[in-house]
């Protein structure tokens, strides 16, 4: 099984699938040069509409993480290190709104870091 999907999450299926693929690369389940699971296989495994998988794969291609090869499928272009950078950038984008708000309210960087530390250590 590749990864799990939460239908009730605030993240769209598209985002969850892309994240799932990126995490699979980071965990070593997929390496540079490997082919992504076929659309039908992943759709069946995740129990989602194949078209949703197609859209996610196309987005990943736009991000430059994979490339569609005729007759083979989607091939992973980037290695762990590059994916790490990309995922961290995703995280930055995800948090920037929230962190910015807290900054405007008047919180200090130390206070935010403290919160993160507490969460991490749990």
């Amino acid at each position: 099984m590749w990864f799990k999907i939460d239908l009730y999450s605030s993240l769209s299926l598209n985002e969850q699938i892309k994240m799932g693929i990126k995490e699979s690369i980071l965990k070593g389940k997929l390496r540079e040069g490997d082919t992504l699971p076929s659309i039908r296989e992943l759709a069946s495994s995740l129990r989602v509409n194949p078209n949703t998988i197609v859209r996610a794969y196309k987005d990943l291609e736009t991000e430059g993480i994979v490339i569609a090869k005729q007759g083979i499928g989607y091939m992973v272009l980037k290695g762990k290190a590059e994916i790490r950078r990309i995922v961290l950038k995703d995280l930055e984008k995800k948090f920037s709104e929230e962190i910015f708000r807290f900054k405007k309210i008047g919180f200090k960087l130390d206070e935010i870091l403290e919160v993160i530390k507490n969460i991490w250590e749990k």
């Binding site: 009730y8 605030s10 993240l11 769209s12 069946s44 509409n49 078209n51 949703t52």
Partner: protein
């Protein structure tokens, strides 16, 4: 294949004067679950009956590009009232369906009946609501149709069977089929739909991918005094709902919520289907 169902400017007024459908457009694309979501009385059943040719209507409807009468052999329908022939047993029903429909898969039918715990030699007249629903669904899914149309398919089903049904529907999509699913139950639609058309008072007030609702919309809760102070032009928002002390705004324009995100009294939230639906429906009266 493209567009499976094409509904253009559908209008239906019943002989008693009730205008059930007030001019809607609907486009059901291939290989997805298209949900028609709306409260009872919204016009969903009238829309489905028009598509199926059960009632007369104004407007243009095409199924697989043709008049529905020409493609009935590619369709399977589960109506709101899941009544079947009471003196038959499930086994006899399967025999009948096998004779009637070329695309009926007898083996699949028996498998589904077993899956739903239906006794095959018991007269249907003695069935409970849940069993009637399960039987009707089993016979309908055993047909290898290209388009499945469901009108409130989970009535009477316990949570486990409901989940089983949604799973079976999803498999049909993976197999390349198309589903039109009408319901007023939001958690179900949230689970099964790829594309949602929200219907209310005879009109379709939103149509879009379910994913888009999560990705492109945000809810803003603006206390009423603040909205006056800042001078927010609520008309520019996708939808608005005026409550006692707060105005709820639905926005799909990130510039809108980015400009307001700095205000400490304005709460900005991700949208789930229920809140999206409620804001649109209850706010409908404020807009129209």
């Amino acid at each position: 294949m493209g567009e499976v169902i094409s509904v253009k400017n559908l209008r239906k007024t019943y002989s008693n004067g009730v205008e059930a459908v007030k001019g809607i457009n609907l486009s059901v694309q291939n290989q997805l679950v298209h949900a028609l979501l709306g409260p009872n009385g919204a016009g969903k059943t009238s829309t489905m009956k028009s598509i199926l040719g059960f009632i007369k209507f104004e407007g243009d409807i095409k199924v697989f590009g043709k008049n529905i009468d020409e493609v009935r052999n590619r369709i399977s329908f589960v109506p709101e009232e899941k009544n079947f022939y009471t003196h038959l047993t499930p086994k006899k029903s399967i025999k009948m369906c096998k004779r009637l429909f070329k695309n009926f898969n007898e083996e699949e039918a028996f498998k589904l009946l077993k899956y739903f715990d239906i006794p095959i030699n018991k007269k249907i007249g003695s069935f409970s609501n849940g069993m009637k629903t399960s039987l009707y669904i089993s016979l309908s899914l055993a047909q290898e149709a290209d388009l499945y149309i469901f009108d409130e398919p989970t009535t009477g089903l316990d949570p486990i069977k409901r989940s089983d049904l949604l799973e079976l529907i999803r498999q049909k999509i993976i197999d390349g089929k198309t589903v039109l699913y009408s319901s007023h139950i939001i958690p179900e639609v949230e689970k099964i739909a790829d594309y949602i058309s929200i219907m209310y008072k005879g009109r379709i007030i939103y149509s879009g991918f379910r994913d888009d609702i999560k990705e492109k919309f945000k809810l803003l809760y603006v206390p009423t005094e603040i909205s006056h102070k800042i001078g927010i032009d609520t008309k520019n928002f996708f939808a608005k709902l005026i409550e006692d002390e707060v105005i709820v705004l639905l926005s799909n324009d990130h510039k809108q919520w980015e400009s307001l995100s700095n205000h400490e009294d304005i709460e900005i939230k991700d949208v789930d289907l229920e809140e999206f639906f409620n804001t649109l429906i209850r706010g409908y009266n404020d807009v129209f």
